[in-house]
């Protein structure tokens, strides 16, 4: 979403489009970004656009948060695997847990 806004202002429905997510979820996400001071919604004609506050944007922080989000998703899968493990014996594993349709290891990343 930040990447999209870095190309120019967009309306909420334009932001929602690529993600197949509800407008409600987009608004929720925008509130997080607004609270962080990363985006503003200047008053103007409806529908109001969302603007990226470039000067407030420390890209490194954005990258770190993206990375953190990937790591967290991976560790949620690990949570699910751990939940299937018996004590310390080699129990049968019962298959993985959450299968978010997430990105693959498309980047060098922590194993």
């Amino acid at each position: 979403m930040v990447a999209r806004l870095s190309e120019g202002d967009a309306t909420v429905s334009q932001l929602a489009e690529p993600y197949r997510m509800s407008l409600q979820a987009v608004y929720k996400h925008l509130r997080v970004l607004e609270d962080a001071g990363l985006v503003t919604r200047p008053p103007g004609p409806q529908p109001r656009s969302v603007r990226l506050e470039v000067q407030a944007l420390d890209l490194l922080d954005v990258w770190i948060e993206r990375h953190r989000s990937r790591v967290e998703q991976r560790y949620r899968r690990l949570d699910a695997v751990l939940a299937t493990m018996e004590g310390d014996e080699h129990g049968e594993d019962h298959g993985g847990g959450h299968r978010g349709r997430s990105e693959a290891a498309d980047h060098p990343d922590d194993p």
Partner: protein, 160 residues
């Protein structure tokens, strides 16, 4: 002690190191096994068990590993060495074969918190700040469609 139920990430300002901390409901032995048993590891390292193919795996001190992740018809390979494996830590190297000159030195510590909980601390040391930034930025290559998708899903399902 405060519980760290979500991954915390920190980029060291003075060294090209990324640190990560997260708590798990598991013993140190279980967490170690989830990192060293190739079948278990393949289940969680990638988004889909079928998308991760372990090609080489000798999880012992001085051993080595290689796996290939497949995503949308493209393969991404990673390899490294298990420099040291102990009950409470793993020290290993890590290279993404798309950037064969880059190598990270990774250390994972398994800290027993008692009551069946373990804190995983990991640090990854790369050879320059440029490498570190490129590594963090690499997620950007996924493009707008993937960007923040996970965070959004987490927001959408109320887990954030």
């Amino acid at each position: 002690m405060e519980k760290i139920t979500e991954a915390v990430i920190e980029a060291d300002p003075k060294l090209p190191i990324i640190r990560m901390t997260r708590d798990f409901t598991a013993t140190p032995a279980q967490l170690l096994r989830a990192h060293t048993d190739p079948e278990l590891f393949a289940q969680w390292v990638g988004p889909d068990a079928l998308s991760t193919r372990i090609e080489r795996w000798d999880a012992s001190t001085g051993g080595s590993w290689r796996y290939v992740a497949e995503h949308d018809g493209t393969e991404y390979a990673f390899h490294g060495c298990f420099h040291e494996i102990r009950p409470d830590r793993i020290v290993q190297t890590f290279t993404f074969e798309g950037d064969p000159d880059g190598v990270a030195l990774e250390t994972l510590w398994f800290e027993d918190l008692g009551e069946g909980r373990t804190r995983l601390r990991a640090q990854s040391l790369v050879d320059s700040f440029e490498s570190r930034d490129a590594w963090l930025r690499s997620g950007m290559e996924v493009g707008v469609n993937q960007g923040y998708a996970k965070l959004e899903r987490m927001l959408a399902d109320g887990t954030v």
